[in-house]
Symmetry: C2
Subunit: 780 residues, 2 copies
C-alpha cells in the first residue's frame, strides 16, 4: 500500500489534532453535554451485595415520586442475554453476581430525581456465599456462579504448543521461573460512560454512545433488545477517552434503550465518577506463571506459561486477552518451543474488558523480567541477550505470524543511546539509580479477530475543492481523524485544511470493525488512501478533457491538475469538479474503497498471521529508588518505535507519551482495590492516576521501516507506548536496588518489602517468587 | 428512467411522511431550537426610513450594555456585494434603500439584551425622496435608487418574440385585452428565517441555515464574506416551511457570520414574526398586460404581453420570475405567435424573492382570464376553447420546449366531472353560484437555470440490510425524503422502513442545485434510482458467489436475493453484504450516481427545452358570491394533475392541497400591504392566511402518463396546485356574478366594486380593465 512518490507535502509534518483547539477551549460537545428534545434522565440501581438471589423488588415508592416517569427491572422488560459468553442480562432477573450488577433503573425528569428514586426502590436479597479468588473458585466446593458453567470455568481457553518444550527444558543451560501478579486497573477516562437512547414512532432506535465499535455494537445491542440491527442507528459524539472501554456492549446502553422504550421518551444515562470506577470495564487481573529455558550463550530455547485470569462475574473482552498474551509469549524474541495455557475463572468480582495493550502488558512484564534475570544468571549483557534473540525481518513465529519489517534491534540501540545521556540531577543520599530495558512486539497492521478486519471509506471532492472523507473509523481521542485527513490530503494533493472527516454516524459511514489493536491508522488509513486514489484517478480523467491531454500526461498537486510536461498548463480541482457536472452526462467526484488486510484468523490451533505487519518498540527507564522507603521515581523514559512511517510525528509522539503515562500508572500507582468484591477506591482521591508533574522526561525516537503494506508505509502505534514500560521500570528497579518485584503496582510498600526480604537472604537478590535453576550439565 | 417491471411494492402506496409523527408530536428540532456550545444571540437593527443617507451610527451605548458582546455595522466589517445583480451589502454602508435594510447588528448573551442594545444604537439619517411605484420610478425625474443602474431599470430584461404577432392580431377574429394587477404576498412560513454561524479556530465557518440551496448558498456566502467556498459547511436542520424563501442568500446569514466572526462566538439570529413579514422575501408584485388574438373557432393566434415588475430596492429571484411567465405565455395552450416584454424596476419597496409557482401564478391568472373572456366573446364553451388549444404530446412550444407526456385534456375532463358532482348545500338568498376552470403548464422534469440541473446520490447497503441514501436534495417539508426513500426501497426490493435519508450536511451529501422548480422528485429521484440500481447490480454480483449462480440468473425482492428459476434458493441481503466483507478482497456495498437531465439552458433568445418533461394540471372552482357584499366562498376545488406516476399518492395530494391553500390565500385574502415602502400588516392578525376551516372541499385526481424520463415515470408536482387556482376562482366569480376581477386578492370590497361598476354599465359585464374588440372583418 506504500507508494513511491514525490517528496511528501503533508505526510511527515507535525500536524495538531483537528479537534485540538476545540478540546482545549472547551468548545467540544461530549455526549453528556448533549440534549435531545424531550429527553429525560436515567439512573441505574445496583446491587448492594456481590452474590445473592433477588427475592423482591418493590419500586412503588420510586414510581410515586413526582418527576419519575418509570422504573424498569428484569421483571418488566424484554431483554436477551448478551456478551461473548451470553452469560449476562442487562437488568438482572433472579441473581446478582458482582457488585456492579444492575437490578433496576429509573427514568425521571432530572438526574437528581432519578437518583432519589433509586434510593426509594426496595430490594430484598437472599445473600449467597461468594468467591473472590480465582484459585478458590476452582476448588470443587466453591460457590457456583453460573450453573451452566460448572466449576466456574469459562467455556473457552487458550492452549498452544509449538516444538518440544519439555525436551528443550531438559536440554537448557539455564532456566528461570517466576510468577507475576497483575492487578485490576481501569481506564479512568476523564469522560465517563454515557448513553442516550431515543426511539422513533416507527420503532427505530437512535443511540448516542461512547462505543468504539459502532457496527458490532449495533448488532449486539439489537440482539440484546430483541430487534433487528437495521432498526438501530449509532451516533458517536466526542468521547473523553476510551482506551478499549468502548469495545464491548455494556448494560448502560441496553438499559438506556429499555428505559426509553418503557417511558416513551429519550433517556440519557451518564455515569458519575464513582459509577465509572465501579461499573466500567477494567484491565483483567491475572497471575502469570512463566518458565524460560536458555542456552548458555543466551539463546532462547523454550517458554512455558500458564495464566490464571480472574474473569469476574461475566465474560467480556478481558477474558480473551490470552489471545494476545499468547502471541507475545510465542512470538516476542525468537523462541522455537512454546507452551501456553490458561484458566479463565468466574468469580464474584467485577468483570474486565478490553484496555489499551490488551494482554500484552502482562505477558511482556513476565517475559522481559525473565530476559533480565536470564542475563544475570548467565552473566550476559542485558541488551546483548535481547539483541541475540531479537526478531528479524522475514521471521515467522511459532504461531505462523509473518514478520515483514522489524526494527526491534534498532529500537534497542536508540533507547540505549538516549537513556544514557547525561542527567543533571545529582543522586540524593539514600537513593539508588538504575536503568532498565524492555522491548515490545504487537500487531501493527490490524488484527483479524473477526472474519473481517476491514474498513470502508468514501471520499468526496466537491465544487469548492473541499474533500470529505466518510470513514468507518471512530475517533476516540487517538487522533485518527487528523492522520486520515493527512493521508487523503497527501494522496489528493490538497492542503490539509481542506479535508473534513465524517466518522460518527452509522447511517452515514461505511462499515468498520472498530477501534482496537492499534489498527485505525493502518486499516482505515489504507481504506482512505485507496478511496482518495480512486478520486484522484477520476479527477485526472475529468481534467483530461479540460486540459486536452490524456489523463496519463497529467499529475496533480496543491489543488491543481497540471500537464506533467508543461506544469504552467493547470486547472484548479474545483474547476474540474464543476466542469464535471456543469455539462452533459455530468458527474460528481466520489471515490470509495474497502480495505481488508491479507491476513488470517487464528485457526483452532491458534495459528495464522493475524496482522499485515507487526510493530516493535523498546523502552528504557532511568529510575531512582529510595532504599529506606521503597519509593520509585522515574526520571527518564526513552521510547523507540518502529512505526513504519511517522505520518504525523506529533501524533505518534502523543500516542506514545499517553501510552507511557498509562503504562507508568499501571506500573507504579494505579490499582482498583477490591475487597470481598467491593471496590474500595472508586474516586480519583484514592485511585492514583499520575498527573503531569509526576511524568518523567520522555525521549522518543520514531524509526521508519516504511512497511510495504502500510499507508505510505505506516504501522499502528496506538498501544505500543503502554506495553513495555512496566517491565522496563521493574528491570530498572532491579538494576538500582537488586530486587525483582513481581507484582504491580510497584508501590513503595511492595518495593520496600522486596528490599527487606532480599537483604534478609544474603547473596540472593531475587524474591521468592522467582527461582533460577541450572538443571543439568550440558552433555558432551 | 422509467422501468418496466414487476408490480410495485412501495411505489404507489400511500406512505406517511417520514417525519410526520415527529412533527405533529413536536419532537422535531427546528433551527431555532438548536443550541451550539458558547452560542450567543444576534439581533438586526433596520432602518426607520425607506430611502436615506446614513449620516452617523453611534453604537457606544449599545456596546456598554451589560451582556453585549459586540456591534457590527457596515463600517467595522469586511463584506462584499452579493445577490444576482451584486447591488447589495448585508450591512448597509452609506445608503438605505428600503425599510428592510440592515444598518447594524448586535451580539449579546440573550435575545432580549440584543434587542435592547439595538434600541440603544443611534442612527442619524439624511432622508431622501423615495419612489414606491414602478411606473413613477421610470419617469426621468424619479429618485435614483442605484447610481450604477440609471433610470431605475434592472440591468436585464426578458424579451421574446415568435412568429408574426402584429400580423396575427391584424388577422384575428377577436382580441381580448386586459391588465392584471398582482400584489405582494409572502410565504408566511410558520418557522421564521433563522441562522446560526460558528467559526472554528482554523477559520472555517459552519452555518445552520434555513436555505434550500445549500451548495449555491455555500458559494454565495463565501463570496459575500470574502473567503473561499471550501471553508463553509452548511447544515440544514428541519425548517417550518420555505416555499422558495430559501432560494437565495439574504442578509440574515451573512450578518450571523459577520457577527460571529466579530465576537468570536457562535451567533444565532432568529426572525421574530414581525421581522419575518418585513424582511423575508415576498412574491413579486407586477402589472401584467396581455392581449390575445383568436380565430372565430377559438383557435389561439397570438399573445402579446408586457409585465412591469416592482423589483423593490435590490435584485433577488423575484426579479427573474419573467423567465417562467414567458414560458407560460409562449407555451401554455398552443399559440404560434408570441411577444413578451418586461420592465423590472427598482423602487424603494421591499424586494421579492422566489415563491412557490414562481411567476407562473401571475401569467396563468392573465391567460386563463382571457380564455374565459374569449369564449364569452366568441360564444364558445369555456372548456371547448381550452380543449381546442390544449397542448398535446409531441408539441414543441415557440421557445422550443419539447412536450413529451401531456394529459392536459384529461385533466380538464376530470375536473369537469368532479366539480359538477351534486352539492348538498342550498344556495342562500342573495348569493350566486358559479364554476370556473383554469389549466396549468409547468416544468416537471427539472429546470435548467444553471449550467447544471443535476443532483448526486450515494446509496449504502449495510450489514443489517439497512440502506442509507445520501442525497444532494434538501427536505423543506415537501416530503422529498419520503419519496426518495420509496424509490430506493422499490428499486432495491426492501421494506420502506429500512431506508434512512441523509440530506442535511454539505460535508456529507453530494452536490445538488437545490429545491426549486418542483424538481426534487424528478431529479433527485432519478439520482437515487440510479444509485440504488448501482447497488442492486453489485448486490446480485456478490450474491452470485453465495448462490453459485450467475448474477443474470438472480433477482431480488423483499430483502432477499433469489434464483429466478428456483426462488426458494435465496439469501437475505444482510448476509450477502456480510459475505462481501467477511472474506478476502472484501468490499462494501455503496452505489453512487449523478443525474443531470438531458435539457438545455435558454439561449440568449430564450429558446431551449429547459425541462426533461413538463407538468400539466387543471383546476375547477365552485364558488358562491354574495352580491350585496362581494364576499366569495369557495365551496369546492377539483384539481387534476398529470403527475407522470404518483409515487406516493398521499404525498402528491398533500402537495396539491397545500398548493391550493397557498393559491387560494393569494387569490382571496393574502396581501402584504405597503404604504410609502412600509409594511402595514406584519402579523397574522392583519395578514390573513386561510385556516383549515376556511378551506373548501378538495377533489384531487392524479393522472399517470408514466413519463419515460421520470423515476418510475414520475414528474414534479410541488408547485402545480398553487398555480391555476386564482384564475379558476376569478373565472368562477365571473360565472357567478358576471364580473371580471383583475386584481388580487379578490377582497369583498374589490368584488363588490366590480359588481357595482358592471351594474352601472348595462349590457357590459367586464370591468374597464378589459376591452374586447373585433378589429376587422376577416378578408375573403
Amino acid at each position: 500500500m506504500s507508494t513511491a512518490q514525490k517528496p511528501f507535502k503533508v505526510i511527515g509534518t507535525r500536524v495538531a489534532k483537528l479537534d485540538a483547539v476545540e478540546k482545549v477551549t472547551g468548545a467540544v460537545q461530549y455526549l453528556p453535554d448533549l440534549e435531545v428534545p424531550g429527553m429525560v434522565w436515567g439512573k441505574i440501581l445496583r446491587t448492594t451485595v456481590p452474590h445473592a438471589r433477588i427475592r423482591r423488588i418493590d419500586a412503588r415508592k420510586a414510581e410515586a415520586l413526582p418527576g419519575v416517569l418509570g422504573v424498569v427491572t428484569g421483571a418488566n422488560v424484554e431483554q436477551h442475554p448478551f456478551g461473548y459468553a451470553k452469560d449476562h442480562l442487562a437488568l438482572k432477573r433472579d441473581v446478582v453476581r458482582c457488585i456492579r450488577d444492575e437490578v433496576a433503573a429509573v427514568a425521571a425528569e432530572t438526574e437528581e430525581i432519578a437518583a432519589e428514586a433509586c434510593r426509594l426502590i426496595e430490594v430484598e436479597y437472599e445473600e449467597w456465599p461468594a468467591v473472590f479468588d480465582p484459585a478458590a473458585a476452582l476448588s470443587p466446593d466453591a460457590p457456583q456462579i453460573h450453573p451452566q458453567f460448572p466449576g466456574n470455568l469459562v467455556n473457552f481457553s487458550y492452549r498452544f504448543t509449538a516444538g518440544d518444550v519439555d525436551r528443550a527444558f531438559r536440554e537448557a543451560d539455564a532456566i528461570v521461573e517466576g510468577t507475576y501478579t497483575l492487578n485490576y486497573v481501569t481506564t479512568a477516562c476523564l469522560g465517563t460512560m454515557a448513553a442516550i437512547a431515543s426511539w422513533d414512532p416507527r420503532g427505530n432506535l437512535t443511540m448516542w454512545s461512547t462505543t468504539q465499535i459502532p457496527f458490532l455494537y449495533q448488532r449486539d445491542l439489537a440482539e440484546a433488545l430483541g430487534i433487528s440491527g437495521d432498526r438501530i442507528r449509532v451516533l458517536q459524539p466526542a468521547v473523553g477517552g476510551n482506551f478499549g472501554r468502548g469495545l464491548d456492549l455494556y448494560p448502560i446502553d441496553i438499559i438506556a434503550a429499555l428505559l426509553a422504550r418503557h417511558v416513551q421518551r429519550p433517556v440519557k444515562i451518564v455515569f458519575d465518577r464513582e459509577e465509572e470506577f465501579l461499573a466500567s470495564p477494567t484491565r483483567e487481573p491475572c497471575v502469570f506463571t512463566l518458565r524460560t529455558a536458555v542456552r548458555a550463550d543466551g539463546t532462547l530455547l523454550a517458554r512455558d506459561a500458564r495464566v490464571i485470569i480472574d474473569n469476574g462475574a461475566y465474560v467480556s473482552w478481558g477474558s480473551t486477552t490470552p489471545y494476545v498474551m499468547m502471541t507475545t509469549l510465542a512470538g516476542f524474541y525468537r523462541c522455537p518451543n512454546v507452551r501456553f495455557d490458561t484458566a479463565i475463572v468466574y468469580t464474584n468480582n467485577v468483570y474486565s474488558g478490553s484496555m489499551r495493550g490488551y494482554g500484552n502488558l502482562e505477558s511482556t512484564f513476565a517475559i522481559e523480567a525473565q530476559m533480565d534475570d536470564l542475563a544475570e544468571t548467565l552473566g550476559l549483557d542485558r541488551l546483548g541477550i535481547r539483541r541475540r534473540n531479537a526478531n528479524q525481518p522475514g521471521d515467522v513465529t511459532p504461531q505462523g505470524l509473518r514478520i515483514t519489517t522489524c526494527a526491534l534491534t534498532e529500537c534497542f540501540d536508540a533507547v540505549e543511546r538516549d537513556i544514557q545521556q547525561p542527567i543533571a540531577r545529582a543522586l540524593r543520599p539514600g537513593w539508588r539509580r538504575g536503568i532498565g530495558y524492555a522491548g515490545m512486539f504487537h500487531v501493527g497492521g490490524g488484527a483479524r479477530v473477526y472474519r473481517s478486519d476491514g474498513c470502508g471509506a468514501i471520499v468526496k471532492l466537491d465544487d469548492f475543492g473541499r474533500v470529505s472523507l466518510l470513514t468507518g473509523a471512530s475517533e476516540i481521542g487517538q487522533g485518527s481523524e487528523t492522520v486520515l485527513a493527512m493521508i487523503v490530503a497527501e494522496e489528493l494533493g490538497i492542503p490539509f485544511g481542506r479535508v473534513e472527516v465524517i466518522n460518527s454516524d452509522t447511517a452515514v459511514k461505511p462499515w468498520d470493525v472498530g477501534v482496537h489493536a492499534s489498527r485505525t491508522t493502518f486499516i482505515a488509513g489504507n481504506a482512505a488512501l485507496l478511496a482518495a486514489r480512486d478520486v484522484r484517478r477520476q479527477l485526472l480523467g475529468l481534467a483530461a478533457a479540460e486540459l486536452e491531454e490524456p489523463a496519463e500526461a497529467l499529475d496533480c498537486e496543491d489543488g491543481f491538475v497540471f500537464v506533467r510536461q508543461a506544469p504552467q498548463r493547470r486547472v484548479p480541482y474545483e474547476k474540474v469538479v464543476r466542469a464535471g457536472h456543469f455539462r452533459e452526462d455530468g458527474r460528481i467526484l466520489i471515490g470509495q474503497a474497502f480495505y481488508d488486510p491479507p491476513t488470517q484468523m487464528l485457526d483452532k490451533d491458534f495459528r495464522g498471521t493475524v496482522s499485515a505487519t507487526y510493530a516493535f518498540a523498546a523502552q528504557a527507564a532511568l529510575v531512582e529508588v529510595e532504599e529506606a522507603t521503597g519509593k520509585i521515581e522515574v526520571l527518564r523514559v526513552a521510547s523507540a518505535h518502529d512505526v513504519g512511517r511517522a505520518l504525523n510525528p506529533i501524533g505518534c509522539e502523543g500516542q506514545i507519551e499517553g501510552g507511557i503515562h498509562m503504562g507508568l500508572g499501571y506500573c507504579l500507582t494505579e490499582e482498583l482495590r477490591l475487597e470481598d468484591g467491593r471496590v474500595l477506591n472508586p474516586g480519583f482521591l484514592d485511585y492514583k492516576l499520575l498527573t503531569a508533574p509526576d511524568m518523567p522526561e520522555m525521549l522518543i525516537t520514531l524509526i521508519e521501516t516504511v512497511d510495504e503494506a502500510g499507508p505510505f508505509g505506516a504501522k499502528g502505534v496506538g498501544e505500543a507506548g503502554t506495553i513495555p514500560i512496566s517491565a522496563a521500570v521493574a528491570n530498572a528497579v532491579k538494576d538500582a536496588v537488586g530486587v525483582r518485584v513481581t507484582e504491580l503496582p510497584m508501590t513503595p510498600e511492595r518495593v520496600y518489602r522486596a528490599i527487606r526480604a532480599a537483604r534478609a537472604r544474603p547473596g540472593r537478590d531475587l524474591t521468592t517468587a522467582e527461582r533460577v535453576s541450572v538443571p543439568h550439565q550440558r552433555g558432551g
